[in-house]
């Protein structure tokens, strides 16, 4: 095994080294519309980045890193960002790799980590189930030991990228006789095997960005369990925290994309910019988005100052209101036009699409109601509700 750290360098040396690397190797990438996989050119580039140890600077040398402190790692990321080159800073942004790095076995890390960083392996999340949405600890997908493997059976839902994924981060129940949080394990499940069937899920918006995944006797090696047996809830909590910090404002704009019309533009276009009622509504809708941006900026500044910020956790709840209210405003501007949809009616199509897609934010990743619980309990310190199923063996817990 090699040393955990490379020889320390000064900021200037580091900057010079990364600049030289980028100058020599970075030639840009062709445009690509597939959002689920990484293209061959980018994979080749990322392999170069990984092998030059720029991908995960904070990690130790034996895992493709340089053992840099956060401050120096940011220097590298800033240089990559300056030329718009991808691949650096994956120790902060690559949810799957971070989880594998922190909780995976040596065997698994040796098998997967490099390919994950290069983009050769695609991933998806296998958390939610039809019966376990808000209450993820209620999962009923089971993983049973069989030799050195586990055999998995169950159903997952709201999986994006499952069609192209090579592995899925899976939570499954491995002990039914302990309380629900204590009998869950966390796996990297190979997706390309007979026991895994992926079906697209038609959404309320008449698109299919998500899938249902039916798992029937699929196998996963014991070495591909993360964090140890029945310790999956803790791994999940960490992974969810990464996800929240990475996700930021992931809400989509209008379906057609490319349209940067502001609310003011829309009001003007609808001939309503002179209407006092519309103007009051308009100002409020703009304000909600601005206030959220100001909150986020303040949260980031607070983090820099080292003080903790209660503001961060409010973003998702705020975004939910923003998206629903903007859709409502668009609808009101359109009047009867909002009866229509389709390409012949782009404004109406946007308004109607956005009015439905807003639920992606207000329901997905924890409903607004769950989010208010979290803010109330974790930020404001209000006491939890009595949890009637927290201490009973899972097989006695009510489901439905």
């Amino acid at each position: 095994m090699t040393a955990r750290f490379l020889k320390p360098v000064s900021d200037d040396e580091l900057r010079a080294e990364v600049r030289a690397f980028l100058k020599e190797h970075w030639k840009g990438l062709p445009h690509r519309s597939d959002q689920w996989t990484v293209g061959p050119e980018q994979r080749a580039w990322q392999a170069k980045v990984v092998d030059a140890r720029w991908a995960v600077n904070r990690w130790p040398v034996e895992w493709y890193g340089r053992g840099l402190a956060d401050r120096q790692a940011k220097i590298v990321e800033a240089e990559f960002a300056a030329v718009r080159a991808p691949g650096a800073g994956q120790d902060r942004t690559h949810l799957y790799a971070i989880t594998a790095f922190n909780f995976g076995t040596e065997t698994m890390k040796a098998a997967l980590l490099r390919s994950m960083l290069t983009g050769d392996i695609n991933m998806c999340l296998l958390y939610s189930e039809p019966g376990a949405g808000s209450d993820l600890a209620g999962v009923r997908t089971k993983a049973e030991p069989d030799g050195g493997d586990y055999v998995v059976t169950g159903q997952k839902v709201w999986t994006s990228g499952a069609m192209t994924a090579d592995y899925g981060m899976l939570i499954a129940r491995t002990d039914w006789d302990v309380p629900k949080h204590n009998g869950i394990s966390f796996f990297f499940l190979p997706m390309k095997q007979p026991g895994v069937e992926v079906r697209p899920l038609r959404q309320v918006t008449d698109e299919a960005h998500f899938n249902e995944v039916f798992i029937d006797g699929a196998r996963v090696a014991g070495d591909f369990m993360l964090g140890g047996l029945n310790n999956g809830w803790r791994v999940l909590q960490t992974a969810l925290a990464y996800e929240r910090s990475v996700m930021g404002d992931a809400a989509r704009g209008p379906r057609r994309g490319g349209d940067r019309a502001t609310m003011v533009d829309l009001a003007r276009e609808a001939g309503r910019l002179g209407d006092p009622v519309t103007r009051q509504h308009l100002a409020q809708v703009i304000a909600w988005r601005r206030l959220n941006a100001l909150n986020n900026a303040r949260a980031k500044a607070d983090l820099k100052l080292g003080t903790s910020s209660s503001v961060m956790s409010l973003g998702k709840l705020a975004m939910s209101r923003i998206l629903h209210e903007e859709a409502r405003f668009r609808t009101m501007l359109l009047g009867a036009q909002s009866l229509l949809e389709g390409e012949a009616n782009p404004r109406a199509d946007d308004a109607n699409f956005l009015s439905l897609n807003a639920y992606f934010t207000s329901i997905g990743g924890g409903t607004d109601q769950i989010q208010r619980n979290i803010i109330g309990e974790r930020v404001l310190g209000l006491p939890k509700e009595p949890e009637i199923d927290r201490t009973v063996p899972f097989r006695d817990v009510r489901a439905g």
Partner: protein, 366 residues
């Protein structure tokens, strides 16, 4: 006006409810909404046989002779069941014909409507406002003969209609015309609607020959619109109550954290607030129907109050219903979005809530 007793009315609503429970299931709705016509002919025939198509048509013209109260009651069932059918369009057409006071035209046209002929009303253009300013057609007389020009939009079941009632500007006012759908110069184009249980068309009139009905002007349109608003309010109230019921039922049976989600205050309190909304909508729709039926001096107030109160209540109830269901209602396969689509359509079908709030104040003299 109406000769229905309360018992007649209850029996009628009950018949419609049972018919719709049989023939207008969620699967039927989904089949109809994917179809070209947008409705199921067998279901329409069954409704016609019950007399629903001629509900507000005078018995002298083979209708049931019901009034606003009977119509509102039936529309509550229609709204609850998300009925995809040309009932609303036909009712508007029948009311407009009757309001023209042209006895010959009534004799000629109304019996057909009562027997299931599909008719509709063309009035507004791109703006979609059902106001004098919104009238998109103009009529010109050549001797005894009239011709229409312009483009009407948002015409309900325009592509399926066998008879079009067109409202058009004439010198000094408005007039109402009968137009055949296959008249020369008339081009009909189906519009893509967000509520897929709804069929809307654009109708392009180029020197289309038309028959004027009586001497009626805007006052006939206004009478038709009041009845239509009461019908729409009934549909909204019925839809709001049903989608709430569905949601409450789900909240009783869906378990998360070892408890029915309806035991959580977040869900329970939303449901309580929505009950207030949907019950208020029901009260408003019924009161408007009664005021219109009795010719009360404040009927216009009651109608516009119902128009915005029911529209807002349905939109809120259907929207919150999705949130309360959580992920399951974000799927196409779940019916909650069908209610949201209908509620959003109804919100602007005959004028936005803000417009009706303004009309409400004007009707109050404020």
């Amino acid at each position: 006006m109406s000769s229905f007793t309360a018992e007649d009315r209850a029996a009628m609503a009950d018949s419609v409810r049972r018919l719709l429970a049989d023939l207008c299931t969620e699967a039927d709705i989904r089949r109809a909404m994917e179809s070209e016509a947008g409705y199921d002919a067998a279901l329409w025939t069954a409704l016609v046989e019950l007399g629903v198509a001629g509900l507000v048509i005078d018995p002298a013209h083979d209708g049931l002779g019901g009034g606003p109260v009977e119509l509102e009651a039936i529309m509550e069932e229609v709204g609850a069941a998300l009925l995809p059918a040309p009932l609303f369009a036909v009712t508007m057409a029948a009311a407009l014909i009757a309001a023209c006071g042209d006895a010959a035209a009534s004799d000629r046209l109304l019996p057909g409507l009562a027997r299931g002929r599909i008719a509709t009303v063309a009035l507004t253009g791109e703006a979609g406002t059902w106001t004098p300013e919104g009238v998109a057609l103009a009529a010109h007389a050549h001797g005894e003969r009239w011709f229409l020009d312009g483009t009407a939009s948002y015409v309900l079941h325009g592509a399926a209609a066998d008879l079009v009632l067109a409202v058009a500007r004439i010198e000094g006012g408005f007039a109402i015309f009968e137009v055949a759908p296959d008249a020369p110069g008339l081009a009909v184009e189906r519009l893509q609607s967000f509520d897929r249980t709804l069929r809307l068309a654009k109708m392009d009139f180029r020197h289309v020959p038309a028959t004027r009905l009586g001497q009626a002007g805007w006052e006939a349109v206004e009478a038709m619109l009041r009845l239509a608003l009461v019908a729409l309010a009934g549909e909204q109230a019925g839809g709001a109550r049903r989608v709430l019921e569905m949601t409450v039922q789900y909240a009783k049976t869906r378990i998360q954290f070892g408890r029915a989600i309806g035991s959580f205050q977040a869900i329970k309190h939303m449901a309580a607030d929505l009950l207030l909304e949907s019950e208020s909508a029901t009260s408003a729709a019924r009161a408007a129907a009664e005021a219109l039926a009795s010719g009360a001096p404040d009927a216009a107030e009651a109608v516009h109050l119902a128009a915005f109160a029911c529209a807002d209540a349905y939109a809120k109830t259907a929207a919150d219903a999705i949130q309360m269901h959580g992920g399951i209602a974000f799927t196409w396969a779940h019916p909650a979005h069908l209610y949201l689509r209908r509620a959003r359509a109804d919100l602007h079908l005959l004028g936005a809530p803000a417009y009706h709030r303004e009309r409400f104040l004007q009707a109050m003299g404020a």
